[in-house]
């Protein structure tokens, strides 16, 4: 262990040297592995800034993922995400009580494994996106009624506050963050990573333990046109309003199991619903009601006015180790549904267990096992129709599922290392492998191995 710790120290020191004088000023303040942030307090400057109402944040997530078997191509990728944020407390800066301003941006590097090796829907990484430098959030928030209500206006991300499970959020597969029932079904993936879109969010906490939130977002984060939406909105600065209708969502949350030492809540239930005003194409039928696979079809998908769905999230601490704040066994369940006649994924179920502090002397590490299941909507009927009408044997999409095992090792308060294993079943929902594979051959189930490093500067 001393050698490992020494090696880790050396690695961090090298990283610090590369980053210039970031950590130098505060080096003497606290031992490297004891301080809260890698770059320390900048000789007191960070705290002075916070006291004055200016809070700067920077995180870097780097990972390598590999699919030694399965997928449409075996490959190994590297991907990185630098997230830089600035929070301004306008009460301190401008004497504007209970108001704040927040902005953050992403620098995304590398390439994603799902896009380049597996071809699946439930992307294997929360940071998978096209390499780019982009604006993410940029909003103003006003709190009122003794902080029991707040209004946030500006460019907002859906996955900042909605459909969040506190125990699923630590997994690496993207669907445990922003669920695929949003990122696959909504236009351009909706206001989920890496997108945020113009909108407004209202939240109220009328009584203890209850919050109700409602938001309206621009319907499509990317302007119309061919190609990848992450290319069409390459910098996050399109600021589209009224583009592609409106996406609205509301969520009721109740938290319980208050932990006596930290006052944090270890369990909670959320119930949510959403509605999108745009027109959504039928995955199976044309405007005459015929199957799109039929030779008689006009090839124009039927259009449905609007789209909607509902979800339920349960987080529960099952067993808390005595005399500890948050160590123990916890479980999560997320269930979301949407109409099968206008959504590629019509049902998503995520469930899992996490155990914090499983091993002696590693009280802050988290071991997690999670599974996600996404059922294919009426697109599966289109696949059946194609077999029927063409006579060509081909896979019929039914579902995609992921099993993930993840271990979050807290090396320091500012550094997490996560070895990760994922099994991807029915990549793409059990779709045909790309050429030159024969159309009858589905993309094989994939094994994914990886390691993520996350550093807070």
């Amino acid at each position: 262990m001393p050698f490992l710790r020494g090696a880790l120290s050396a690695l961090v020191i090298v990283a610090g040297a590369i980053l210039g004088s970031f950590g130098g000023a505060a080096a003497a303040d606290e031992a490297l592995f004891e301080r809260d942030r890698f770059s320390g307090d900048w000789g007191g400057v960070r705290k002075e800034g916070q006291d004055a109402g200016i809070d700067f944040g920077a995180n870097y997530v780097a990972e390598t993922l590999s699919n030694p078997s399965g997928g449409f191509k075996q490959t190994t990728i590297y991907q990185g995400l630098l997230d830089v944020s600035l929070t301004l407390d306008l009460g301190k800066l401008l004497d504007w009580p209970d108001a704040s301003f927040y902005i953050d941006g992403y620098q995304i590097s590398g390439r994603g494994l799902s896009r380049n090796g597996i071809g699946n829907l439930l992307a294997v990484s929360t940071i998978e996106a096209l390499a780019s430098t982009r604006l993410h959030d940029m909003w103003f928030q006003q709190e009122f009624l003794d902080h029991r209500a707040s209004l946030r206006v500006g460019q907002i991300a859906l996955d900042d506050e909605f459909y969040i499970s506190q125990y699923s959020a630590g997994f690496i597969n993207s669907t445990f963050g922003c669920p695929d029932i949003f990122s696959t079904d909504l236009p351009s993936g909706g206001p989920c990573y890496p997108f945020a879109t113009p909108g407004a969010r209202f939240r109220a906490a009328p009584i203890a333990n209850f919050t109700v939130s409602a938001a309206a977002f621009n319907g499509d984060p990317a302007p119309p046109g061919p190609g990848d939406p992450q290319v069409r909105n390459a910098s996050g600065t399109n600021f589209l309003i009224g583009q592609g209708g409106w996406f609205t969502i509301a969520e009721l949350a109740y938290v319980f199991d208050e932990e006596p030492v930290s006052s944090s809540h270890l369990s909670g239930i959320k119930l949510g619903g959403w509605y999108h005003t745009a027109a959504f194409a039928d995955p199976r039928r044309d405007t005459h009601g015929l199957s799109l696979a039929s030779p008689s079809s006009n090839g124009i998908p039927a259009s449905h006015s609007g789209n909607f769905g509902a979800y339920l999230i349960v987080d529960k601490m099952l067993w808390r180790r005595p005399e500890t704040a948050t160590q123990g066994l916890a479980a999560f369940l997320r269930v979301g549904g949407a109409p099968a006649d206008r959504n590629l994924i019509s049902l998503e179920v995520d469930a899992g267990l996490t155990f914090k502090g499983l091993f002696p002397n590693r009280e802050l590490d988290v071991l997690g096992a999670g599974v996600s299941y996404g059922r294919i909507g009426f697109a599966r009927r289109l696949d059946r129709d194609q077999v029927l009408f063409t006579g060509i044997d081909r896979p019929v999409r039914d579902y995609e599922a992921v099993l993930e095992l993840n271990y979050s090792a807290r090396i320091a308060p500012w550094w997490v290392l996560e070895p990760d294993l994922q099994l991807v079943f029915h990549p793409g929902g059990f779709t045909s492998a790309p050429p030159p594979a024969p159309v009858s051959q589905p993309i094989p189930n994939a094994l994914v191995l990886g390691l993520r490093s996350a550093i807070t500067f």
């Binding site: 940071i127 003794d146 707040s150 906490a205 948050t326 500012w414």
Partner: protein, 144 residues
């Protein structure tokens, strides 16, 4: 005078919280009183009991993709809380001071340090709640 806290406060382990409270109470500059953290051998006869309750809060969050411990350990955002402080002498309840505040939490929070000193003054200071009992008067203004 022993200092106790029934409930915790985000950003602190229990022992650290008592130490922090004692330091900030001493900073209130009350020469007649000396404070020290309570031990675990039951409630002392002469004691100040602090309790902190999170008020309903609708401030919201932003997504954090790193899950580093600093985000879990640090309170990080300003939160409204209600602070109640009870004074016991010879095992008998004497008086109570309540105050609401907005804090970030943690030992480096200047607002929290300030409100602890203010509440201590309101409880034990020359014009505080206990002195008002002592001379048979109510305090001129309830501490809120």
């Amino acid at each position: 005078m022993k200092v106790e806290s029934e409930e915790g406060l985000p950003g602190f382990h229990r022992v650290d919280l008592l130490r922090f409270l004692v330091t900030q109470m001493a900073a209130a500059g009350l020469a007649d009183w000396r404070f020290e953290p309570a031990d675990n051998n039951g409630s002392a006869l002469d004691r100040v009991e602090w309790s902190f309750k999170l008020n309903p809060y609708a401030g919201g969050e932003v997504r954090n993709l790193t899950h580093t411990l600093v985000y879990e350990r640090q309170y990080g955002v300003r939160r409204p809380i209600t602070i109640e402080v009870r004074l016991y002498l010879n095992g008998q309840y004497q008086t109570l001071v309540e105050k609401q505040a907005i804090i970030r939490g943690g030992p480096d929070d200047p607002e929290l340090a300030s409100v602890v000193a203010t509440v201590t003054q309101s409880l034990l200071g020359p014009t505080g709640a206990y002195r008002a009992i002592d001379v048979g008067q109510r305090p001129t203004q309830p501490a809120r």
